[in-house]
Amino acid sequence: MKSQIHVLILSILLLGGSFVPAQPKLSIDLGIGFYEPTLSGFDENETVQFPTKGIFNRNLLLNWGIYYEFFSNARIGYNSFTSYELGKDILLLNSEAIFRRSINYRLFPIETFFRWRPKIELNFTLAPIWGRGRIELDTTPGDKTEDWNFFLNSFGGSEDPVKDMGATDVMRSDWYGYTGMLGFRYYISSRLALDLKGGFINNSYKEKKWRVQRQSVTGPKMKIDDLPIFSFKVVYGLR
């Protein structure tokens, strides 16, 4: 019986091995994105002094992705655009907090393409988006509830929404959206390429749909729908 198992494992490995060269291409990419949202909940907030807006914390997105070429002219994959912001000594009611904010646009694209020239590819991307906003505050323990209420009240909504705070001091919001992009890819070698994309991004974000410690709260006003978006990335074909 034991030897039969060994034979089975060996056969699977050999059979699997014979499929390997015929597998479609797998590629990873890393790059940056550029867009222009209006985060008025932070920029026009008169109660809490957030970090000054700039290219790095507003317009620049970190971009990575992984794609699987399942057809001769099509890929499917996962792509993530993330915007980060970090602020120290944010003056709240009882403490000077550390503030971290991220907006993550998680794309599940279907990309079709064709080679215009042997080294040049034109591609077309359509993707649903699962977006997530995350705001994290490190406040002084003991004064958390007051600080969070002070912070949340600055965005409007009901007064003092949080009644009881535990250890986690993160607020999150999820939303859905979609994007369409046209791209241009230049192959440096058969594995390595530079990819430039431009398109639009549409998100159904609602500031009333944030939650902190399973309690619904009102978050910052952000205009992240109907935005043009551009990305530049380096693509490496694994197989």
Partner: protein, 115 residues
């Protein structure tokens, strides 16, 4: 016993032969053959360093033209497989193009309704 062992080692050294060096050309390596038949992307990632060394060795051994051909065929293979949009992919591309055009035309042409 000690004498017997010493004798055995002595004759072992005496009768030892230099192993025959295999005169396999780098251009005939299975990795190069794999790249020629299935494309460079078929070479596993863990073998890329060895593959690059083999390419250089093959070039040094006079296989410059062979390597040039390998690259050319790799480009052609990719180009031929993706130069035309097959099956449903052209419809998808058209959908993307139309949504893209609709969005940007809307941005340019749309007017805000007066209150």
């Amino acid at each position: 016993m000690r004498f017997f062992l010493a004798l055995l080692i002595f004759f072992g050294i005496l009768a030892a032969q230099k192993p025959k060096k295999e005169s396999v050309s780098a251009c005939d390596d299975p990795l190069i053959k794999l790249a020629q038949t299935k494309g460079i992307k078929a070479v596993p990632l863990k073998d890329i360093r060895r593959f690059n060394k083999l390419l250089k060795a093959c070039e040094r051994q006079g296989g410059k033209e062979e390597i040039k051909q390998l690259y050319h065929e790799d480009w052609q293979r990719d180009y031929n497989s993706a130069r035309r949009m097959a099956s449903w992919t052209s419809t998808h591309a058209m959908c993307v193009f139309v949504s893209f055009g609709y969005y940007f035309a809307g941005r340019i042409l749309a007017t805000t309704p007066s209150s």
